[in-house]
Amino acid sequence: MMERKYFLQLSSLGLIPMAVKAIIGPKKAKLKMPRYLTTGDTIGIACPAGYASKEDVAPAIVALEKWGFTVLVGETIGKRNNTFGGTDEERTNDFQAMLDNDNVKAIMCATGGYGSVRIIDQLNFTNFKKTPKWIIGFSDITVFHAHLHQVCSVASIHAKMCGSFPKDPTTADPIQINALDTIRKALLGEQLNYQAPSVAMNRVGEAKGELIGGNLKILENMSGSISSPDTAGKILFVEDVSEPLYNIDRMFCNLLRAGKLDKLKGLIVGSFTSIKPDTPDSPFGKDVYMIVMEKVGKFNYPVCFDFPVGHQKNNVALKCGVMHELMVNSDGSILREIV
């Protein structure tokens, strides 16, 4: 009886709803999808990180125009401040202008490198959140994918950037051309479906969840900050380049210990290219497959290796924040966007 009386008193004071709310936590804003593009729409190109010359982005402009889009070249293209595409202020201002320009329906980053994290907290996403647009890139641009997902709840496109467009498409590797064409499909709202080969180390299963991810180093770099994505119930993809095995292991340890791997619905491992060699007399003794399976061994969601995402020609467009279905079986893996 005492308990019931106490309960009634609390509810009459309106304390129960508050207590419940505190347990559940604030409801996360529903993910906003930017509008898909139509022919004639404008795509802005900018350098939030490393520098790119006008020449570097010229093939991308040709291709984007060929796809039927209009291109707005940002002020940071051709700007250089040491390794950066302009000073922090210049890169912030250019990106801010693109975010706030209603005519710009998508922003393709010129290149990765380093620098997004230096401007992300200076950018004002108020207008962007009201009228979101597609932001395209990968590698260092993972900062944006993580931040847009976690802080703005806006979908974005993890894909190749201006620097990946070949000068002469007729002689380019068809794999590269196909990967670039997935950006066009993504922007036009085509449903994206991908396959990956059967890999012995895969863990079979099916998963449904929001797709998030990007560069492993950057995901670790986001740890502890407001931009670090909540991964519970989601499908995570990771890739990296030029890291030694011990560091790949250490980064997965961070994700595991930071609670980013235990509540996943599925894990997609892209390419780990140009792995820095071990010193000959002390080999790390585990490859990427072993490193990953060791970390997720106690969980039971599907794991797909050798997915076409990473610092390589076969780097397909992935919609971050959007619901996907992952099927991993003995024939291989399929990732399907749920429309």
């Binding site: 520098y51 040491n82 994290v117 230096r118 770099n221 900050s225 292991d249 340890c253 003794g285």
Partner: protein, 306 residues
Amino acid sequence: MNRIPPYLKKGDMVGITCPAGYMEAKKVKACIKALQQWGFEVMVGKTIGSKSNTYFSGADEERRDELQAMLDDPSIKAIICGRGGYGLSRIIDDINFKKFTKYPKWVIGFSDITVLHAHINRNVGVATLHASMANAFNDPLQEKYVRMIKKALEGEGMRYKVRGNRHNKKGEAKGELVGGNLSLLVHLLGTDSAYKTKGKILFIEDLGEYLYHIDRMLLQLKRAGVLKNLAGLIIGGFTDLKDNSRVFGETVEEMVLRLTTEYDYPICFGFPVSHGVDNVPLKVGVEYVLKVDKDVQLDHLTYVTK
């Protein structure tokens, strides 16, 4: 307040273990000899000069079991790590600190051992010793610093005076000392092993990193709120730095000052904590007083109030 493990007396036992990278048995000989000359007994773990043919000094279980055994063995009064490398993150969650909490002892090391310092500081509340490890005893240039480990273990009050650096930000700070290797400090962010740094004096050092990468790590500390409420900041050595063909264009000093402009705590540069020759023992979790004026002085609080 963190508990201070008992200081060592002659005849006390020091354990040597390799919880991370591999180390040859012969590389630990100088350390054993010195510890014995100092009057300590030495217990050398099996991870030293093990049969491992990989990067690690042994399988995770072997490294973990040995560290666990040394933490639990009441006859061992201090544990000095053979060397760093990488490996503690793989075993830290499987270490049980129950006995160690009851009967704390000194844990000594740096670099990858930062994981132990931070984890113990955050979760166990026992002071540890950030200092050179067994491999440093082979280097005659480091003799001065190696001898300081003896003083630290015996509980001698220590005062470090360092010449001023034109980048220093003057001021005085009093607080618990925490810190270690920058790469490891950022690696621990988001996990239960990350230091709580509010009101504390933080020291950082690193080696072999690209300048842009140092910037990214410092920015991560800042974005994770680590730099915001410090009492003071000590920048140690950043040795063997690398740069790209696209030069970064800023020094470590400039990066630190840019990222801390809005904070008014004292900052000193070039403090002798590093992967280079200069590496003084620092007691993590112990209160210190940092004075950054024309010169820099770092004292144990107890030493100052004595």
